[in-house]
Structures are given as structure tokens and as C-alpha cells.
């Protein structure tokens, strides 16, 4: 009779090598599959009759649906930045410089990063859960069985909506943060509008706005591509959908922070 060799009987180095190799191979497999998904998205671009109406629908969900929460958090962020800047610098620097500190903090960092993180939770979780549920209930198989391309019907509209709407939301976030920053500074350190406007304009470069939009575009790709991939590949029922949703949000948030660092190093 054949003797079955169990894992526990294998030499320690072999077990150690396996323990290292498995996650590495799994990660490489995911990178490959993710790359294939991106290729499929590009190949689906000519099928505009399928993706265009669905993209408009998704833009409403992403843009209009997120507008209130983005404005609310930006208003708070602008106010807090203003209070903290006032607390740290009052008496040590001219007041107009506070306008520059508040505006630059919001445009360069807080606007894009906070909007990105918010949408990773709001849109990323939604996309991963929607697509994951469609996968485990065979709706994606059904779509394919009808000769329809899931890339043009499901994935591309979601990704394009993120790429279009996130920069728009970031511009709204920047504007809201700057207004609330001024109102908070006026209340706490009694800065005049003339000082605030002078400080803001004195240190403002057009590139700052471009930098904010470039970051928004990159974060828009992250909060749509990662959840779409994770949801599309979900398996094993409700538990799999739950795991996909958590993975999508956590991975998107970590990648946003990583990209924030990389883009700051590369572009500033």
C-alpha cells in the first residue's frame, strides 16, 4: 500500500519554503489577473453603446451621491486646519500667512486624500459588494451566457465614473475646505478677508491645483479598479462577498496613502 506523505512529515526547510512561496505565488497570480482585467477594460472601450449609458448612471451615484458627505467632511477639515494653524502660529507669523497654510494644506493634501478615503469606503465597498454578489449568484455568468461582455456592462462604467467624478469632487472639496477654513479663521483669530485672500494668492501656484487633480485621478483609479477586481473575483457565497468588501476598502485605503507619498515625492 502507498504511504501518504503529510505536510508535517516534510523537512522543515521545505515547509518554510512552501510557507513563503504560497503567498508570493498568490500575489503574483493576483497581479496577473488584475493586469488581464485592465487589458479587458481597454479592449471594451469600442463597445461604447454598452458602457456609455451605464457610465452616466454610475456618475450620478458616485458624484451626486457623494457630494453632501464630501462637502460636510471638507467643511470640518477646513475648520479644524484653520483652528490648529491659528493655535500654532498666532503671534509668531503674519496673519496673511495663515491663509496660505490653510489653502495649501487643503489643496495639496486634505482635499484629495480625504475625498479618496471617503470614496474608498462609500464607493469601493459598494462596488465590491455589488460585483461580489453578482458573481456568487451567477449573475455575471448569466451576463456572459447572453454573449454580453462584463467588462463593458459592469466594470468599465464603474471605473470611468470614478475617473470622471473624483477630480470633480476634489475640486468641490478644495473649495468647501477653503471657505470653511476662512470662516473658522475669521471666528478664531479674527483674520480679515483681505489678509486671507492675499496669503492664499501670494503662495498659490497653478500647479497646486493640477497636483490636486492628478492625485484625484490616481485615487479615482484606485477606488474603482481595486474594488471592481476584488468583487469580480469573489467566491464562496456571503462570506466571500464580505471578505471581498473588506479587502477592497482596506487595500484601496492603503494604496491611496502609498500613492500620496509616491506622488508627493515625484511631483513636488
Amino acid at each position: 500500500m502507498d504511504q501518504l506523505t503529510t505536510t508535517s512529515e516534510l523537512p522543515v526547510p521545505v515547509n518554510a519554503a512552501r510557507a513563503v512561496a504560497r503567498p508570493v505565488l498568490s500575489a503574483l497570480e493576483n497581479v496577473g489577473r488584475f493586469g488581464m482585467m485592465v487589458v479587458e477594460l481597454v479592449r471594451a472601450l469600442p463597445e461604447w453603446r454598452a458602457w456609455l449609458p451605464r457610465t452616466i448612471e454610475q456618475c450620478q451615484h458616485v458624484g451626486y451621491g457623494s457630494l453632501a458627505i464630501v462637502m460636510l467632511t471638507s467643511a470640518f477639515a477646513g475648520g479644524v486646519t484653520s483652528f490648529q494653524a491659528g493655535y500654532q502660529f498666532t503671534g509668531s507669523i503674519p496673519l496673511y500667512l495663515l491663509g496660505a497654510v490653510i489653502a495649501e494644506s487643503i489643496i495639496l493634501e486634505l482635499g484629495p486624500v480625504m475625498t479618496g478615503l471617503l470614496l474608498a469606503g462609500r464607493i469601493g465597498a459598494r462596488y465590491a459588494a455589488e460585483l461580489g454578489t453578482m458573481r456568487v449568484t451567477e449573475q455575471i455568468d448569466a451576463l456572459e451566457s447572453l454573449g454580453r461582455n462584463p467588462a463593458s456592462h459592469l466594470l468599465l462604467p464603474r471605473v470611468l465614473a470614478g475617473l470622471v467624478m473624483l477630480p470633480a469632487l476634489v475640486v468641490v472639496s478644495d473649495a468647501t475646505g477653503m471657505v470653511s477654513g476662512f470662516l473658522a479663521a475669521k471666528q478664531s483669530i479674527h483674520i480679515t478677508y483681505a489678509d486671507y485672500a492675499y496669503g492664499t494668492q501670494r503662495f498659490f501656484r497653478t500647479f497646486d491645483l493640477w497636483y490636486s487633480v492628478i492625485k484625484a485621478e490616481a485615487f479615482g483609479a484606485v477606488v474603482t479598479l481595486i474594488p471592481c477586481y476584488v468583487g469580480f473575483e469573489a467566491q464562496e457565497g456571503a462570506e466571500g462577498v464580505g471578505r471581498a468588501t473588506t479587502t477592497a476598502v482596506v487595500a484601496s485605503c492603503v494604496l491611496i496613502l502609498l500613492l500620496d507619498l509616491v506622488l508627493a515625492k515625484l511631483l513636488l
Binding site: 451567477e138 455568468d141 451566457s145 447572453l146
Partner: protein
Amino acid sequence: MIELRNVHKKFGRHVVLDGVDFSVADGETVALLGPSGTGKSVLLKHIIGLMRPDIGDVIVDGESVPRLDRRQLAALRGRIGYAFQTGALFDSMTVYENIRLGITDDACYGDRDFCRRRVAECLHLVNLADDVGKLMPAELSGGMRKRVGIARAIAGRPKYLLYDEPTSGLDPVNADAMDALIERLQKELHATSVVVSHDVRGSFRVADRIALLHNGRIRAVGTAEEFMAAKDSVVREFLERDVQFATEG
């Protein structure tokens, strides 16, 4: 014609299909029987190209399904209707939109009047009223979902029809009604059909031939009479278990 040649498929170390040879002639209805978890649905997914065999070939309409590119596969799928076990309806769309999506010809899909007529026709074919079209899938019973799934599968006037467990989860009365529906559709549409089931009685009613999938292979194929007269121990055991279950039920 549908033909599977020496099809092997395994998931990890679990062998599901272990050299399946199986064919369905044009216009014929074949019921594929077997206990749950023997790979019947996996076999069906190979026919429509949702899965690729590890070894072997699947020929549909003279084309090798695993070798088709994306466009060719989409064109072939336009000639196949697939009724999923749970209906697999798109839950964000109404019943009307679900069935409309089954119209696989792009020109027809864009013609709203044609779509309205065709969806109404399909709803009538599966014995559902017109106003069901306005409902969302969540508002339907299990049996109605299956019927809508079939309506979507036939909306594109397919040459081939694949049914995945059409009577599973239904009470005996609704299961009989479903069998009658499949029988009627075969007469009206003349499609080449494969019905995956573990319901022996229903399969005998709707199929021209019956095949039994056992341990990843086709164990027996034949007409209902040939099946009833078979002396193979596995076939006997499967038939007797069903008869016993029916008697106990």
C-alpha cells in the same frame, strides 16, 4: 449538434469530469441525470464556454468552444439559451429588462417596439402575465424566477437550450408544471436541448434520451425504456432510489 470529447476537469485536486464523451443530435432533448455534486452543471458550463476543459474538446454547432476568441464565443452564445438553476436574474433590473437582455441580436435589441413584443411573447410562452414585466426579481417566487430565467434564455430564439436543474426547489405540482413547460417549449421552438436534473420522473417525461453522470464519466445513455431495462448496478441504484423516494414522499 453538441459534442463533448474526452472532457477532463478538476478543481485543485478534486476531479469533477474524468473523460466525458457525450453528444446531443440536432433537435434532440437529452436529460443529464446524476446525484448532486457530480459535475452536471460544470458540464453544462463547458458547453456554453463559461468553463474550459483541462483536456478534451467541446464542439457546438461545428465549432470548438475552447478555441473560440471573445467575439466568436459571444456570437456562439447568442445561439445558446442558458436557464440557470436559481434564475440568476439581474436584481437591479425589472423582469422586462432582464428578458430584454436575452435578445442577443444587437439590431433587434435596439428596436424598442420589437423588444416589447418579444418580451410579451416570452412571458406568455412561460405562462406569465404581461404585468410581471414591471416587477423586480426580489418580488418573484422561486418558481416565477425560474420561469423568467427561461423566458430570458429563449428571448434570443436560440438554437440550443440548456436547463440547469429546472425543477429543483419546486413543489411536485410546480415541478410538473415546469416539466410541461419544457415539453411545450421543445415542441414550439424545436431547439436542441440539454436538461440537467436529478429528477428521474421529469427527465423521462421531457427527454428523448437520458444520460447518467457518475464518478466524472457518462455511465449510461439511452431512451427511457432502455434506461428502465438497464442492468447496470449504478443505473439500477439511481432509479430505485428515486422510486423509493417518490413512494416515501
